[in-house]
């Protein structure tokens, strides 16, 4: 904790509510409706209204959000044929995804830390954090808890999110908002078949009754064979005589099962979700021979009760209590253990609760205050050695944190807004952090929005870093921190075109690394990231949609002044979607460019480059065919480009071209 921070706290009063960044009002009438409800028609005709624009309600409030926010909708997911959250994040400006085909890792602001978990971009569902309390891994691949067909929209928030969400919203946060029963209004059956081959079946029932009860129940089962004949890289075969295979046959299978259900009535809601994903792991991931089983099973589940209400005028009260369960079980025979079979496992159980109060004063100020409490009752992990019937390590842990937060938004004039917030996180494991956020949002002209943002973030060491199995613990290990300055400019050119640009400078300090010299983790690396992105988007009345972005960025290790691993300097994206035959047939093209990256060189000691790559995906979608069907044909990696993603054990090549046919039947 820095000396000036308590001062800052007092000076700006400070905190959360990205939930307020984007308005998630459900069942609560807007300010307008409450105020105007009793007016006669004559009086209504005298009420001034905002001019109609193409943007919907939440996009309007995004302009006022003290962060750069990008929204993807259910229509985008359908039009571009995105099957996982990774696919959506690949389309977000400034992001790239590294995959070892076991887990996916999102690179935000230009880099990922090869070998680390996906722990620096917080993944949320309806504002509820989904990372597990052992590895802090945010699942974004086929292990994500929600079927993409059930997504209503995804908000990608770039920049530090700790002043709102606490640990792990280090470089950004991704909030996935599911559909409601009303969005289904009946039943849906979804069938997806791919050339891998893969097959996915989904059944969903949902509606909103006349009494205002909104319910949704959905189940998904999904199988994929992956790449049947995976050719092993020559560099990998040189490591050990046991790894001499040329081809890994049938080692890429995936099986996903998930259930999601939600019931809401007025201000009350109950939500529960479950996912089990079993994945075979390709030999290069953990350097395993081609003829032994390598697989991991991840299971996640949560249940949440929420209440929201307006106890006094202009006040919103929110309360939430949640239970989270995570379990993992792997089976590998890796080179590193001398080909002894190991079975790593993890098992956690947590309770989370949050209450917050938000009060609006004179329509120009709003003040929010709240507290989050999490009790990790079980944080167990270890490695079993099935051959010997014993454990190589077994860690049993528990921990808790409590975090009050505060947020103040002040609209000085309709064109000038200030947003200040902060959150204090106290962990019983010894870490305490105050993270502030300050934003100035200006509309210098009716078509221009400018945001000046400062924010801090942190990530506490996870259980596997604090207690690294057979290695000694480092009692001095503390949280990593990040400070970011960002300038966002949005220019709207008439009702159709929009250009948005971000310029950022970020310093990440005390990054946690494994130090072979002391055989444990310590706070060491300091990275400096800077860059900008710029991109136009356009929505034409004809239905043609365009979105493009170019990002130029670099992340250097401060001690060596070298570009770090998996940090592409250039990213470019183009998305075009257009109606082909009136409104029922639509073609969408996605082109992604990722610049050259380095791998970490950890295993072979030689740093290699992955080279750059371009890949393109194409989807043809027919809506409302025979009234009830929605059909889409997607071809991924149209040009069959092959590239490699960096991995702590070298590199792993991308999947080849594939095609997927999706059909949804609406009852």
């Amino acid at each position: 904790m820095h000396a000036y921070q308590p001062l800052l706290l007092m000076a700006v009063a400070v905190a959360p509510v990205f939930a307020q960044a984007v308005d998630h009002s459900g069942g609560v009438p807007s300010r307008e409706v409450s105020e105007l409800a009793d007016l006669s028609l004559e009086e209504l005709m005298q009420v001034p209204v905002e001019s109609v624009s193409g943007v919907s309600k939440y996009q309007q409030s995004i302009r006022r959000a003290p962060a750069g926010v990008m929204v993807f909708t259910a229509a985008d997911i359908r039009n571009y044929g995105w099957s996982t959250l990774s696919d959506v994040l690949r389309a977000a400006p400034g992001m790239h995804v590294r995959s070892d085909r076991f887990y996916d890792y999102v690179g935000t602001r230009g880099f990922t830390r090869v070998g680390d978990f996906n722990a620096r971009t917080l993944i949320l569902l309806n504002g509820h954090r989904l990372d597990d309390p052992i590895y802090q891994q945010g699942a974004i691949g086929t292990d994500f808890i929600l079927d993409m067909d059930l997504v209503d929209r995804i908000e990608v928030i770039s920049g530090p999110g700790s002043p709102v969400y606490g640990s792990n919203a280090f470089y950004g946060a991704v909030n996935v908002i599911p559909k409601t029963g009303r969005d289904i209004s009946g039943a849906e059956l979804g069938f997806t078949a791919g050339t891998e081959p893969s097959l996915k079946v989904r059944a969903t029932v949902g509606d909103r009754t006349d009494d205002g009860v909104d319910y949704l129940v959905s189940a998904t089962e999904w199988w994929s064979r992956g790449e049947d004949d995976f050719k092993l890289p020559a560099s990998w075969r040189a490591v050990h005589p046991m790894l001499q295979g040329q081809v890994a046959k049938d080692r890429d299978d995936m099986h996903h099962q998930s259930v999601f259900t939600r019931v809401a009535w007025r201000g009350l809601s109950a939500e529960a979700a479950y996912v089990r994903r079993k994945k075979d792991v390709l030999p290069p991931v953990y350097l395993t021979p081609t003829d032994t089983t390598s697989r991991g099973i991840d299971e996640r589940a949560y249940a949440i009760l929420r209440a929201t209400g307006e106890p006094v005028p202009d006040a919103t009260f929110n309360a939430k209590i949640a239970v989270d369960v995570y379990s993992y079980e792997g089976l590998f025979t890796p080179w590193q253990t001398g080909f002894i079979t190991v079975s790593p496992y993890a098992d956690s159980f947590s309770l989370n609760s949050e209450v917050s109060w938000r009060q609006t004063f004179a329509e120009v100020q709003s003040f929010g205050i709240g507290v989050e409490y999490q009790e990790n009752l079980r944080q167990d992990y270890g490695v079993d050695l099935p051959t010997f019937g014993m454990a190589s390590s077994a860690i049993r842990e528990s921990s808790r944190y409590i975090s009050p937060f505060v947020q103040l938004d002040w609209e000085f004039t309709p064109n000038v807004r200030v947003s200040a917030g902060g959150r204090y996180d106290y962990y019983n494991t010894g870490d305490e952090r105050f993270t502030p956020r300050l934003g100035l949002i200006l509309d210098p002209t009716p078509s221009t929005t400018i945001k000046l943002l400062y924010g801090e973030a942190f990530r506490v060491p996870n259980v596997s870093e604090r207690f690294p199995g057979t290695y000694p613990s480092n009692p001095d290990l503390e949280a990593e921190t990040n400070r970011s300055f960002e300038f966002v400019a949005e220019q709207r050119l008439g009702p159709i075109w929009r250009i948005e640009s971000h310029l950022y400078h970020m310093v990440s300090s005390d990054l946690i690394v494994f130090d072979p010299a002391i055989n444990t983790y310590r706070n060491a690396d300091r990275y400096v990231t800077q860059g900008f992105d710029i991109g136009p988007s356009a929505y034409f009345p004809s239905g043609l949609q365009l979105r493009g972005s170019v990002t130029i960025q670099e992340t250097r290790d401060d001690s060596t002044d070298r570009i770090v691993a998996d940090a592409p300097r250039t990213l470019a994206k183009l998305h075009v979607s257009t109606p082909v035959v009136e409104k029922w047939l639509r073609a969408s093209v996605e082109v992604l460019y990722v610049g050259n990256r380095k791998d970490s060189g950890d295993v072979f000691g030689v740093v290699r480059h992955t080279g750059d790559y371009v890949t393109g995906n194409f989807t043809l979608r027919a809506s409302r065919v025979w009234h009830r069907w929605d059909l889409a044909l997607s071809i991924y990696n149209v040009a069959d480009a092959r590239w490699s993603d960096p991995k702590d054990s070298g590199q792993i090549s991308s999947p080849p071209r594939s095609a997927v046919l999706r059909a949804t039947l609406d009852f």
């Binding site: 009002s25 459900g26 069942g27 009438p29 807007s30 307008e32 409706v33 105020e35 105007l36 409800a37 007016l39 006669s40 028609l41 209504l44 005709m45 005298q46 009420v47 001034p48 209204v49 905002e50 001019s51 109609v52 193409g54 919907s56 309600k57 309007q60 229509a75 969005d183 209004s185 909103r208 006349d210 205002g212 007025r266 329509e363 120009v364 000085f412 004039t413 309709p414 000038v416 100035l440 200006l442 000046l452 400062y454 300055f485 300038f487 950022y504 400078h505 800077q530 860059g531 900008f532 239905g543 130029i552 670099e554 300097r569 409104k583 809506s623 409302r624 009234h627 009830r628 609406d666």
Partner: protein
């Protein structure tokens, strides 16, 4: 190029701090008076539209067979999710002529069954480009006692009954085609007609 970018970016922190100070200083004189003299805020368009729709229910008589005793009014919304949310919130606490209000999302022709009022969003306010358009829906409800409402210059010509128009200073008023209302078998109150601009496009001359 990267060197240049690098030097530019390393100054960003300093520049941002300066910008912030300058901006705060410039605004300082503006703040205090601005707190007192707020100009009247404009209301969200979809919220006000929702209230118009609710009001229209009370000024319209449906044939008894389409609106039996003790049944709710059914409002169908095609397109605008924001408008739908406002209507849902209103429907929970409001009765019109002692009837409850049901709100239905219109995704295809099957959702039209039982609708008394149908609102079709113009493209730009829709938010869901796959929702059906006025051109697709109007032929399906012709002569079916459905009060159709939208905001588009061609809506009445296509057979719609009420067109909400943004007029001076963003205030909403509305146009009504009495011919189309008559064809639908709806009786609109004289008070409603007095507030409206009556427009009866004739299909022959293709305009007003």
């Amino acid at each position: 190029m990267f060197r240049a970018l690098s030097t530019t970016c390393s100054g960003v922190r300093r520049i941002l701090v300066r910008c912030l100070i300058v901006a705060l200083a410039t605004m300082a004189p503006v703040w205090v008076p601005s707190l007192r003299a707020q100009s009247a805020p404009a209301y969200a368009s979809e919220a006000v539209r929702a209230l118009f729709l609710i009001n229209f229910l009370g000024f319209t008589d449906w044939p008894a067979d389409t609106l039996p005793q003790n049944t709710p009014y059914v409002i169908g919304v095609a397109g605008s999710r924001a408008l739908e949310e406002e209507l849902l919130a209103l429907a929970e606490k409001r009765l019109v002529r002692d009837r409850r209000i049901r709100v239905v999302r219109v995704k295809n022709s099957r959702d039209l069954a039982g609708c008394h009022l149908l609102y079709v969003s113009p493209f730009f306010a829709s938010g869901d480009e796959n929702s059906p358009t006025a051109g697709e829906l109007l032929p399906l409800v012709r002569r079916q006692s459905v009060l159709t409402v939208s905001s588009s210059s061609t809506f009445l010509q296509e057979g719609g009954i009420v067109n909400l128009v943004a007029g001076d200073q963003g205030r909403l008023h509305f146009e009504i085609s009495t011919n189309n209302a008559k064809e639908a078998g709806l009786v609109l109150s004289s008070r409603l007609l007095a507030l409206a601009r009556i427009v009866n496009p004739s299909p022959a001359d293709g305009g007003r």
